[in-house]
């Protein structure tokens, strides 16, 4: 613990006789330039996310499970990772049973250690929910929990995310305030603003560096 004491002592000596600077945070600087009419929020989010190769569809709550099926079948994918403990996971599995969909449904219902290799190499796609979207930066907010673990949105080459149109906020500051983030955060809160990408070679943009190669956002207009 001597390192801790030494560092803190040195820092305190440097501050001797001074007082902390006042908190003059002006929230207008991070909100005023990033405000949109309600009907423009989705347009803004769409244009930013599409600019970084995100595929976006606007549809209704009744339509989305069939759209997921279509997205998978169109690509010829063989399986789909889902969260059985969530409402949307339930809806999806009901649709799958009724429609006799071909791709296999894989439930993320056991600890990663039990099927790590399979999760890393064998899963083609996943569906997760979001807790909202941010118009200013074109971002999704993911709040992983025990039902919908963190790696669901990272390992599969195709990630399909559900976004309720009513949960799109103007900007990050507004989102933080509305959901009262400072009162309690999950173990891993994520903002996702497109498929994984890199420009590390000659600044040429390439998608699918380590995370999903494709991100599809289904905006649920009546939710």
């Amino acid at each position: 613990m001597s390192a801790r004491r030494n560092i803190l002592n040195k820092l305190r000596a440097g501050l001797a006789g001074t007082t902390p600077r006042p908190d003059d945070f002006d929230e207008g600087l991070v909100t005023r330039p990033w405000q949109y009419a309600p009907e423009d929020r989705i347009t803004r989010l769409r244009s930013l996310m599409e600019a970084v190769h995100t595929e976006i569809h606007q549809l209704t709550c009744a339509e989305w499970p069939a759209k997921v099926q279509e997205l998978l079948e169109h690509r010829g994918l063989k399986n789909l990772l889902y969260a059985p403990g969530t409402d949307h996971g339930q809806t999806l599995s009901e649709h799958w049973q009724q429609s006799n969909a071909a791709p296999e449904l894989l439930a993320y219902d056991r600890p990663i250690e039990e099927w790590k290799e399979e999760l890393f190499w064998q899963v083609d796609a996943s569906v997760t929910g979001t807790v909202g979207g941010i118009a200013a930066t074109g971002s999704l907010v993911l709040w992983p929990d025990r039902h919908e673990p963190r790696l669901m949105s990272l390992l599969p080459p195709l990630h399909i995310a559900l976004l309720k149109a009513s949960e799109v906020e103007d900007n990050l500051y507004g989102m933080m305030q509305k959901q009262n983030w400072s009162a309690g955060l999950p173990t891993n809160l994520l903002l996702v603003s497109g498929p994984s990408k890199t420009a590390d070679i000659e600044q040429v943009l390439a998608y699918g560096a380590h995370g999903p190669k494709e991100l599809v956002v289904l905006i649920l207009e009546d939710a």
Partner: protein
Amino acid sequence: MSQRIPVKELTDSFRGRAVGALVDDQLRTNFRVAMDSLMQKRADAFPDEEEREGLRELGNHIKARALSQLPDLLEQLEAKLTENGIKVHWAETTEEANRIVHSIIEAKKGSQVVKGKSMVSEEMEMNDYLAERNIECLESDMGEYIVQLDGEKPSHIIMPAIHKNRFQVSKLFHDKLGVDETEDVNELIQIGRRTLRQKFLEADVGVSGVNFAIAETGTLLLVENEGNGRMSTTAPPVHIAVTGIEKVVENLRDVVPLLSLLTRSALGQPITTYVNMISGPRKPDELDGPEEVHLVLLDNGRSGAFADAQLRQTLNCIRCGACMNHCPVYTRVGGHTYGEVYPGPIGKIITPHMVGLHKVPDHPSASSLCGACGEVCPVKIPIPEMLQRLRQENVKSPAEQPKVKDGGAKYSRKERAIWRFWARLNTSPVFYRLFLWGATRFGKLAPKNVGPWTENHSAPVPARRSLHDLAKAHLNQGDQR
């Protein structure tokens, strides 16, 4: 046609490496193209000057406020992280930090480590330290991976492999990984993806840096585009984050403007693909995520910079790299010329505190003081002012007690004596006229070799008539007309 000089072989001084870099056409083209593009991207990301300047001012105030209560915030951060289940470690030196990281890995009997991009781990030379102890520590950021594979160090803090083009990467992958050569950047990235995914799967420990550590909530925030940061911090059973003590901010809301400044200044992006906010290890009922999360807080000279109110501003830095993207010196000599972890303008003002001015005596003077770095800095660090201050510290005599580690590295009694003579000459009219009289008559005796000046220029020869003399003659002519 100049010969390509591999950067890694140039191990002498800044000056020697600069000469080598300047004749390397490939290197200069790679940097020129990249920096032009990064400057344009930043400019496009800040179309509204008023908005930009307001945000920079706010960013500066947030960092200054955090530094003005740094010890308290570090304690608060530690308490909050501990409450969240993250273990906090403190290290004064890079050696101590390496020991801590090693002991955590050893306790888990780990042999494979994957690392997300972390400049602090570069400061620690963690890869080498662990390799010597038979632990593989693999870089997972594409650029860092390329650089590591070639036995090099990053040449840019955001774009580590910016000095290489696709052909060089293709050849490297072919030589080291045994894959076919390809000029397709997408294919090159997919080779990296496949190779590294297996490593993420096998790794015992993931190491990452931290962009902002939030005291209020006990949260570590990381930004990235690739997903390697999320992989490194989520897939292995243990996650170790390493960061400098200056990365703490007071509140969650403070990161809103800083995040915007960071990604727009660095890459011209409104936000990175991923913003990864870690506030704890896996909970008992969760199905993935590391079971252990550690944070190592490293000093490594930062408290030395902190001790001086002016130099403390160096610690405002949020590591966006905009200063190097806009630096005419960096663009021409490249990142490796600096010979240390942090290149460019920020490297010139932070490195002396870490390694001492004896090791980097040319750092403060390798600048034209054009001011571009200070103009673009998102947290308004007056970099040119810092450079001038370091120049002063660099030539102080031991009696003048330099304020920077190994200050006085360039102190020279001869130079000091010459300046004293110069000052005396210009403050004493009698002495001045006497000297002028001598200089105009015995100019041929002037030294033919005046240091670095005569390496590239002919030596100055005093005129036979002084300006005073000529002016006097001119005025007399006017009187006669």
